[in-house]
Amino acid sequence: QQQVKQSPQSLIVQKGGISIINCAYENTAFDYFPWYQQFPGKGPALLIAIRPDVSEKKEGRFTISFNKSAKQFSLHIMDSQPGDSATYFCAGTLLTASKLTFGTGTRLQVTL
């Protein structure tokens, strides 16, 4: 099985808080782990991605933490804003233009 498990299914965070979404993968051949952000009526858009040779990647308010031994990775959104309200998908794949195996998605709502 090449599943990617994602939790929680939905998340409500107050403005300024930290949003944390967790994923676990099974396929140890995966060597690229992107996070996609999807707004209603739009297709998923790449937000941030990490390779398993690093334990953390930060881009602005978004950070991926990666634990290779546990086969887990997570997305942290610092100082969450209402504009971050969207559905977030983690994925696992290979670097070489391979298919994305998505998690089940997390619907994030950031309240004022």
């Binding site: 690229y32 992107p34 739009k42 297709g43 998923p44 794949t93 290979l94 298919k99 998505f102 998605g105």
Partner: protein, 116 residues
């Protein structure tokens, strides 16, 4: 900024009918994909296409499905005889050409297919 476009945005069809979903990838992209998302479920891979042939397909992509790139710009997904369970959002995605070390797929906005 160039975008992947898809038409129609919503397609309603009767069970057993053929449908063609259309995608226009970004112009210099070389790898093309179709995914689908049944309402409330995860996005699932259907098929990848490179150099005018299928490079990989999932178990979902059976003989009822086909893809082609008829004119060098459009990328189509055909479902020959639709079933109720084909109702889903279908996403097209693509990857640019050139030395791109990472698998960054650009997605279209999707076509919502409703089979009655």
């Amino acid at each position: 900024e160039p975008e992947v476009t898809q038409t129609p945005s919503h397609q309603v069809t009767q069970m057993g009918q053929e449908v063609i979903l259309r995608c226009v990838p970004i112009s210099n992209h070389l790898y093309f994909y179709w995914y689908r998302q049944i309402l409330g479920q995860k996005v699932e891979f259907l098929v990848s296409f490179y150099n005018n042939e299928i490079s990989e397909k999932s178990e979902i992509f059976d003989d009822q499905f086909s893809v082609e790139r008829p004119d060098g710009s459009n990328f189509t997904l055909k479902i020959r005889s639709t079933k109720l369970e084909d109702s889903a959002m279908y996403f097209c995605a693509s990857i640019p050409a050139g030395l791109r070390p990472y698998n960054e797929q650009f997605f279209g906005p999707g076509t919502r297919l409703t089979v009655l």
